[in-house]
Amino acid sequence: MRLTRFAPLLLIPFLTIGAVQAAEVQVAVAANFTAPIQAIATDFEKDTGHKLVAAYGATGQFYTQIKNGAPFEVFLAADDTTPAKLESEGDTVKGSRFTYAVGTLALWSAKDGYVDNQGQVLKHNDFQHLSIANPKAAPYGLAATQVLDKLGLTTQVKSKLVEGQNITQAYQFVSTGNAELGFVALSQVYKDGKVTGGSAWIVPADLHDPIKQDAVILTKGRDNPAAVALVDYLKGPKAAAIIQAYGYQR
């Protein structure tokens, strides 16, 4: 065939990248940050020419995988303790750790008008199932239990709690209607300054410890220019705008 005619097209990727050496960066991303990192990746790849390959999951699970040789180069965790632990164990590039986002917790229902903007629905206790993420493994789950404690509702809702293994599953239980409401990451139900569907109470930050989400360059990413570029990009204004649009604080 006349494939040779298209041969010049193959050069396009190299031309657009210009002087920068294109590289690929493997990133482990906390499940709650799925939507924002996808938006950021598009801009990042366009602006730098590097390629971002993301895996999504629970922070505790990533820790185990990283300790056992997973090929991740950058880790965007859902908390600040796991990256700090990896740092103290010598699995990261020293000095690369920083807080890329502070998470916001939301009480959410897939039904319109079900959750009021004061969270009174919790006190009325007129539901079968309240979904949260596993508090032992997921920071948003831990924050949810702190909120219930602070509101004095822990005993009242104890028998109604259902746990997702991570925040994605906690969201799934609510979005499929199996649980009437649940504590999710605001980023899962929020875009461009408003809730995308159903009804939600944005939980005041003083009801739980701050959900500081830290990022770190892992030892495997030490010599990868794309890893450094990604961390720089996350600190920059373009990423900040996207991160805030999804309801995180900076």
Binding site: A58, V162, A179
Partner: protein, 226 residues
């Protein structure tokens, strides 16, 4: 043993789930297997394929469809709500339904093979002696297919004990209701409690080995007898 009370609760729940599932599967699996082993209907292929589906489908697929079907907007959920039972996700009953589907081929297939191995001759002899269908079943088929029942029960039980994905997706991790051993181990690993994960995981490994050892040893003995 350094197991916590939550670990023991998970073990007890798992045994309860596996036992109940096995009993239900033997009851509904026997007529299905009997029919599959005897029929000449064109439906034999499709039914056999449906029964075998859980062998190849990832548990996430079964779990996902169960989550939708059992939920308040799903067709099973609509029925259970109309019957005043509420929805079955996050309940022990829901797990039993999931496990019955998930472990179905492990019970039906050994039974089907055992029934097929009997052949038609003993049944014809029974018929000439004027044995009714129930008499034939209890006096001829059941004793001859006994090894098949043993294999089916052991495999159905063991496979349910090893269930993880389906429970994870429809269970909601509720202590004493849906938190089975496999999920409890996953929890320990997620929370970086490796020591506790090790104890439970090791117990599971030993248990599974003993079950399979019993199964394969009994098979060899039977072969020696026949």
């Amino acid at each position: 043993m350094p197991l916590t009370s939550a670990d023991y609760a998970a073990i007890w729940l798992t045994l309860k789930l596996a036992s109940l599932t096995t009993v239900i599967l033997l009851i509904i699996g026997t007529p299905i297997a009997l029919w599959l082993s005897r029929t000449r209907s064109w439906l034999r292929g499709p039914v056999g394929a449906v029964v075998a589906l859980p062998l190849v489908l990832p548990p996430t697929v079964i779990g996902f469809y169960l989550l939708l079907a059992l939920g308040p907007n799903g067709w099973i959920g609509q029925i259970t709500q109309a019957l005043g039972l509420g929805t079955l996700t996050f309940s022990f009953t829901g797990l039993v339904i999931g496990s019955v589907i998930y472990s179905m081929p492990f019970v039906v297939q050994p039974l089907q093979n055992a029934f097929a191995a009997i052949g038609s001759r003993p049944l014809e002899v029974a018929a000439t002696l004027r044995a009714g269908p129930w008499d034939t079943f209890f006096s001829v088929i059941l004793p001859l297919a006994r090894p098949g029942f043993v294999t089916a029960a052991i495999l159905g039980f063991a496979h349910t004990v090893g269930e993880f994905g389906v429970v994870l997706m429809i269970g909601g991790n509720i202590p004493e209701k849906t938190r089975v051993v496999s999920v409890q181990i996953y929890d320990h690993v997620e929370a970086l409690e490796y020591a506790q994960a090790h104890w439970l995981a090791a117990a599971m490994l030993v248990f599974s080995f003993l079950v399979l050892l019993a199964l394969y040893s009994s098979r060899r003995t039977r072969a020696g007898w026949s």
